[in-house]
């Protein structure tokens, strides 16, 4: 990055002298060129990270990232900002742990504060079988070198005084599994940080440019049709979770994915009351407090196929009732805003990061509920797969072919029912 563009205490002081009216734009808005070495479809965190790592790690800078709306306007700006790597199965554990390690250094790497806050992610246990499952998962995490601690009820009551840990609670809390390095990050900042850093390396970020077709030449990618004209390229990477099925269908590929709406909501902002991410699988609920003071919470899918970025009030009601069962004192708060995003729900609950059965076509998607925390590793491994033409060891298991081979990665054991993961 050119020193004049770098954010620092000195640039802050320099720009203060001009009343902050002369900050340069964070990235260019170039017109699309007729040909690129690689085209990434989707200008959210995953697509921008792919563009960044193609340039940074592999020296491929003649790259365009195409976005139909504005950067980070899809699921990147709609998630609940939780990052963690508390997975049981080896491929997931190693992949998400790589991502968590990248999160730890991301602000420095991108010269942009992504506000990664390792405040701990706590999964509550409400029954002896919940405890067995948490112990098993915690042990698996530790064997994979990932931090995990089991907290008993008294310790949870001490750390999270708002949580109803009494015996009389509607869903009594018996313990919980904590990943101390888990936490939250600023979702918009991740998109902006990767965008700015990718642009500085020469990657073209092209907004208001929707891909309407993928042109093939004898089973090989030749280019993409867009609302801003045809762009020739031999490599197309899809980073369009929520719409992966639609983009893959443009190249004649069917995916083991259904699109479902997932909702979230925030309360009005209050002073700090919760310094940990608290989740409960039993009541389908999770909550954290943002730096603005809003309590950010979410729950289940809407449980029917949807491309609409909204859902039913009954789901919001379920989230609110679960919240009040765990945190009775939050009953005085108001719901300030609710929204929805469209998730790629795969048939085993795990992502697809790799080559599709069309030469030159790759994807990173199928994130189910959990794409945000994967952003750095997803971009890194997608870029690796595009540049080398073969997957890295850390995404070798996340192929499309695993379904046909019976090598599904089913963390929950829910089987081929995408909305059950």
């Amino acid at each position: 990055m050119h020193p004049a563009l770098k954010y620092s205490i000195f640039s802050l002081a320099r720009n203060a002298l001009s009343y902050h009216e002369r900050w340069p734009l964070a990235w260019r808005s170039p017109a699309p060129k007729p040909r690129y070495d690689a085209v990434i479809v989707g200008g959210g965190g995953h697509g921008l990270a792919t563009g960044y790592y193609l340039a940074r790690e592999h020296g491929i800078v003649n790259v365009a990232v195409l976005e139909k709306g504005y950067l980070g306007g899809g699921n990147t700006g709609r998630n609940t900002t939780i990052v963690r790597s508390n997975y049981h199965l080896d491929p997931n554990a190693h992949f998400y742990e790589m991502s968590l390690k990248l999160w730890a250094g991301l602000s420095r790497e991108l010269n942009f504060n992504v506000m990664y806050s390792p405040r701990g992610v706590l999964n509550l246990c409400h029954s002896p079988s919940d405890i067995d499952a948490a112990m098993r998962r915690g042990n698996a995490m530790r064997l994979n070198g990932i931090d995990a601690e089991f907290l008993d009820r008294n310790e949870i009551a001490r750390r999270i005084p708002n949580l109803d840990c009494s015996r009389e609670a509607r869903f009594p809390i018996l313990g919980g599994l904590l990943q101390p390095r888990g936490g939250t990050a600023r979702h918009d900042a991740v998109a902006w940080g990767y965008a700015r850093a990718a642009d500085a390396l020469g990657v073209d970020l092209i907004q208001q440019c929707e891909v309407t077709g993928i042109r093939l030449d004898g089973g090989t990618v030749a280019g993409v049709e867009t609302t801003r004209g045809y762009i020739a390229t031999s490599k197309v990477g899809l980073a369009v979770a929520g719409h992966s099925s639609r983009l893959a269908a443009m190249a004649g590929v069917r995916l083991p994915i259904e699109s479902h709406a997932l909702q979230a909501l925030v309360s009005d902002p209050v002073k700090p009351v919760l310094d940990t991410v608290v989740t409960s699988g039993a009541v389908h609920f999770y909550v954290s407090q943002s730096d603005k003071g809003e309590l950010v919470m979410g729950g289940d899918l809407d449980f029917c196929n949807s491309y609409a970025q909204r859902g039913s009030v009954s789901v919001i009601e379920h989230v609110a009732s679960a919240c009040l069962a765990l945190f009775p004192s939050f009953g005085r708060l108001k719901v300030m805003r609710t929204w929805g995003g469209v998730c790629d729900m795969t048939m085993d609950g795990s992502p697809i990061i790799g080559q599709l059965p069309v030469s030159g076509l790759t994807m990173t998607g199928g994130w189910c509920y959990g794409g945000f925390k994967a952003t750095p590793a997803s971009g890194w491994l997608h870029a690796y797969t595009i540049a080398r033409g073969a997957p890295h060891a850390l995404n070798a298991a996340f192929t499309l072919e695993r379904f046909a081979r019976g090598e599904t990665i089913d963390e929950k054991g829910a089987g081929a029912t995408p909305w059950a993961h």
């Binding site: 639609r246 269908a249 069917r254 995916l255 699109s259 449980f303 196929n305 491309y307 009954s314 046909a404």
Partner: protein
Amino acid sequence: MLLIPCPWCGPRAQVEFTYGGDARVRRPAPDAPEAAWIEFVYLRDNPAGPHDELWQHSGGCRQWFRLRRDTRTHEILGSAQPGESLPGDTR
């Protein structure tokens, strides 16, 4: 919340129903090639637009039926008892 027209009970709130997935999926013959089974178990069209899907009126008459719904707008385009057809059915 969706107002779902149960073919037996009439319009009822979505919370009375359980979703059953894509209604166009067809179980292959027992001796069908493996590729047909992989397609049946895992692959879906996942359309953005009209979608034929199975629902059960689990909090009511407990019957299964077919619903046609636009996945972009959630607009309900029709419902049918098993064996009945909906306008535009191709099978």
